[in-house]
């Protein structure tokens, strides 16, 4: 009973937070609420016995997404300039400028449709069988041959490794997409970061590298893996950028590209090798599967971390610094 009350509280908090963040007038507030929403999602994942997802959500879904959103808000000016643009409006009439009457009708129609959607979905979820094992048994039966003992890692890198191959491709593609749109103004060097942040970063980054390595290694038998580890490493990179420690900026462009593509390249090469050798993509022999998975994950970890940091900084690490007189006098 208490458990059920907890569940209800969690679900209602989620919905309430979502409502608040979508209705908040101030965009900064909305983003902060979004980060809190992400943390609540992580709680829910932990509650639903999905620790791998909880780790990823806290690090990527809440942490890095939040950082991305805040950086973007900062770039477009704190007021959220560009907020008033109507482009991207999805109302069918938005190509033309609709009069208020048509807009009103569209809006009402939309409301009706949304209520219909909600009703249908609630019904569809309601009639779902209360117990369903899905593919649990089939996965458990094959765990011996997967090379790892964490079932999520086994699904992610062995049984459905092809999805993950394409997904690492999605990340690399996102970087290429972001870069193809050209350079964005940098926002990081508006004021120097201050001694405390720099000291904190220097202290913490080595530790975060350690944690990332641990998560990667632990992923074989416990919650964790390349995505969670990569996200932690990416957070370390974001800290380096924020603290204005020029480690990442000093990396040459060619090396940067090579490292960003490393995970996808290694994954593709392994897939091709297996295809050549056994006639099937990613057909590891059970004895070697663990080693192959570790190799792929290690390469992926580096790329995931680097790409996430690059996405945060707009696709590139800019070397330019602001002149001294624009710097913050407060220290």
């Amino acid at each position: 009973m208490i458990e059920f009350a907890m569940d209800i509280t969690l679900v209602i908090s989620l919905l309430w937070l979502a409502w608040l963040l979508l209705a908040a007038q101030d965009m900064f507030k909305a983003i902060i609420l979004f980060i809190i929403f992400g943390l609540f999602m992580a709680l829910v994942w932990a509650r639903l016995n999905a620790p791998d997802v909880a780790l990823a959500e806290a690090a990527i879904g809440s942490g890095l997404s939040g950082a991305l959103l805040l950086a973007s808000l900062r770039r477009s000016g704190e007021s959220g300039a560009g907020n008033e643009q109507r482009a991207g409006g999805l109302e069918p009439g938005s190509g033309i400028t609709p009069g208020s009457a048509t807009l009103n009708i569209t809006h009402r129609l939309l409301t009706v449709l949304i209520i219909g959607l909600a009703g249908t979905l609630v019904w569809a979820a309601w009639v779902m069988p209360p117990q369903h094992s899905g593919l649990t048994e089939q996965v458990t039966a094959r765990m011996q041959r997967s090379g790892v003992s964490n079932p999520v890692t086994a699904v992610l890198l062995n049984f459905r490794g092809y999805d993950t191959l394409l997904e690492i491709g999605v990340l690399l593609l996102a970087l290429i997409c972001v870069r193809s749109l050209g350079a964005l103004p940098q926002f990081l060097t508006l004021r120097p970061p201050g001694m405390v942040l720099m000291a904190f970063t220097r202290l913490l980054v080595p530790f975060m590298v350690l944690v990332a390595g641990y998560l990667l290694w632990a992923g074989a038998h416990a919650p964790g893996g390349a995505f969670q580890g990569g996200a932690v490493l990416a957070a370390a990179g974001v800290l380096l950028l924020l603290a204005d420690i020029g480690l990442l900026q000093s990396c040459p462009e060619r090396l940067l590209r090579a490292l960003a593509a490393l995970g996808f390249t290694v994954f593709l090469l392994v897939a091709s090798m297996m295809l050549q050798a056994s006639g099937q993509i990613l057909n590891y022999t059970p004895a070697r599967a663990g080693a192959w998975i570790l190799l792929i994950e290690s390469a992926a970890l580096i790329s995931i971390a680097l790409i996430l940091v690059l996405l945060f900084s707009g696709g590139r690490f800019e070397k330019g610094r602001v002149p001294a007189q624009e710097r913050d006098p407060v220290q």
Binding site: Q85, A87, G88, G89, L90, P92, S94, G95, T120, L121, W123, A124, A125, V127, M128, P129, H132, S133, G134, L135, Q138, V139, R142, N158, F159, R160, G161, Y162, D163, L166, E167, G169, V170, L172, L173, A174, I176, C177, R179, S180, L181, G182, A183, R257, A258, A261, F264, T265, L268, A271, S272, L275, S278, G279, Q280, I281, L282, N283, Y284
Partner: protein, 501 residues
């Protein structure tokens, strides 16, 4: 010979373009040459796969050696291979055109968007190609979602590649449509998985039963994919996105990208869900298709810019594809879905040719305002010939591929006795005549004083011409592709098995 039979060509046809994407991302200097190299290799794989199929029938590939339901399968039948082949041929010709269209990339990046677009076009396009091939071959609901995202991301970035304000805002709108579409699709997948516990299309087809969950899931998936296919009234994002992109990109988007989500609709409705769908839903899709034909054609006729005209014509032609649903599910035979698939194919060639030709015209004239294009035909005879040939296929006049396809659709409408569809197909043809004529008339008007001086690369003109020629050739040699389609496509659904003799 044994090589043809044993090599897993379909897997290579996915891995090669993706590998090419990485290679072009790493080596900018050789990006265009690498694209042609990897493209030709992919085309060879697709050709070999077609041969394999003709000898052995539909192929399955168990990824990782696991079997469904735990593993992911690739599945190649006649329809998939036809789409792969179209992608390869159209893609190669567009790549060839693009080598002249985009300026040579320098080593270092500058702020110039032209240089940026020439650097990033190649990896984006190869990612798009890999995503298309993966999508056509996938037999797994969730894997299809990942391929859709790969496709969506690269398509959005390509459509914003010019960096102009209109292109960026069109790309933004496209991105939102793409996001809603994918998430809607994914929720459908989630509902289905929670209900049946399988992701493989074949297994799902044998397990799925009518009920609120299946129907809600199918509705979500259909809306998501219809958004991505720009079915009326979800078409609003397409004209700005396709018209403001660089010419090779417009050609790729109109010829291939929108077809991918339609292909999925065809597969899912006819192959997986025949037991779930009801006649109301089928008629609704057909009705929206009919509206798309009429609305798109009228809008195309009213446009003042050539590329917008062509983009609206895409909206209209996509409408034809959706007529397949009432045609097949009310008793049509191979002529119905084969006609629809063949229309998708011939439209891909015709539309790619027209967009490439418009790109040449824009390059030479500096604009694409239709009323001011008099005399351009004298300057660009090859391009104009390509435009005319592609127009013939678009209209559905013999001896083009468009003619065969529309003839098949018309036949199916007559057999199933759906007279309103007959009327729509004929009306659509007349309206198309209007805008195709408008597209050609001004350009063919001779002018005494020709002001178009910009030089244009030969290979750009010939690429456009080759595509148009294929669109016509599809009418002259329709037998092999249609046989491939008919003999080796087995939609898995039990409902449809009875419908297709």
């Amino acid at each position: 010979m044994s090589l043809i039979l044993t090599v897993p060509w379909m897997a290579w046809s996915i891995l090669l373009p993706l590998g090419g994407a990485v290679a072009t991302f790493l080596s900018r200097r050789y990006a265009s040459r690498l694209t042609l190299l990897f493209g030709m290799a992919t085309a060879v794989c697709v050709g070999a796969l077609g041969w394999q199929l003709a000898l052995k029938g539909p192929q399955r590939h168990h990824i990782g050696g696991w079997q469904v339901p735990v593993g992911i399968d690739l599945y190649a039948d006649g329809l998939a291979v036809l789409m792969l082949a179209v992608t390869a041929l159209v893609g190669l010709l567009i790549s060839f055109y693009a080598t002249a269209y985009f300026p040579k990339a320098g080593q270092e990046e500058t702020g110039d968007q032209n240089v940026a677009s020439s650097v990033y076009f190649w990896p984006l396009w190869l990612f798009l190609w890999g995503a298309l091939n993966a999508l056509f071959l996938s037999a797994d609901l969730f894997n299809i979602y990942v391929t859709l995202e790969l496709l969506g991301l690269s398509a959005v970035a390509l459509s914003g590649l010019s960096g102009k304000a209109e292109a960026l805002s069109a790309a933004m709108r496209y991105l939102f449509v793409s996001m809603i579409g994918s998430l809607s699709y994914l929720l459908g997948v989630a509902l289905l998985y929670n209900m049946y516990g399988v992701l493989d299309l074949g297994l799902l087809a044998s397990e799925v039963r009518p009920g609120p969950t299946s129907q809600a899931a199918l509705a979500l998936i259909t809306v998501g994919l219809a958004l991505k296919t720009a079915l009326f009234p979800f078409h609003f994002w397409l004209p700005p996105a396709h018209a403001n992109a660089p010419a090779p990109v417009s050609a790729l988007l109109s010829a291939l990208v929108v077809k991918a989500s339609f292909y999925l609709l065809l597969r899912l409705w006819l192959g997986v869900f025949p037991t779930v769908i009801n006649t109301t839903a089928v008629d609704l899709l057909g009705f929206l298709g009919a509206l798309a034909i009429i609305w798109g054609s009228i809008q195309a006729f009213r446009q003042r810019r050539l590329k917008l005209l062509v983009a609206y014509s895409t909206v209209a032609q996509l409408g034809y594809l959706f007529l397949v649903f009432p045609l097949v599910l009310r008793g049509g035979d191979f002529t119905a879905w084969g006609g629809s698939a063949y229309l998708a194919v011939s439209h891909a060639f015709a539309k790619a040719s027209i967009f490439l030709a418009s790109g040449i015209i824009m390059h030479v004239a500096g604009h694409d305002r239709i009323d001011e294009l008099a005399g351009i035909g004298q300057r660009l005879p090859v391009t104009m010939f390509a435009l005319a040939l592609a127009g013939v296929s678009l209209l559905g006049l013999p001896p083009s591929g468009g003619f065969i396809a529309k003839w098949m659709l018309l036949n199916a409408a007559l057999i199933t006795g759906q007279w309103w569809l007959v009327a729509v197909i004929i009306l659509g043809g007349l309206l198309a005549a209007g805008y195709v004529f408008r597209m050609l008339a001004h350009s063919f008007t001779p002018a005494t004083w020709i002001s178009f001086e910009q030089p244009v690369a030969r290979r750009m003109e010939w690429s456009a011409f080759a595509l148009a020629a294929v669109a016509i050739a599809l009418g002259l040699v329709a037998e092999p592709p249609l046989t491939l389609l008919q003999s080796s496509t087995s939609f898995a659904g039990p409902g449809l098995r009875e419908m297709i003799p």
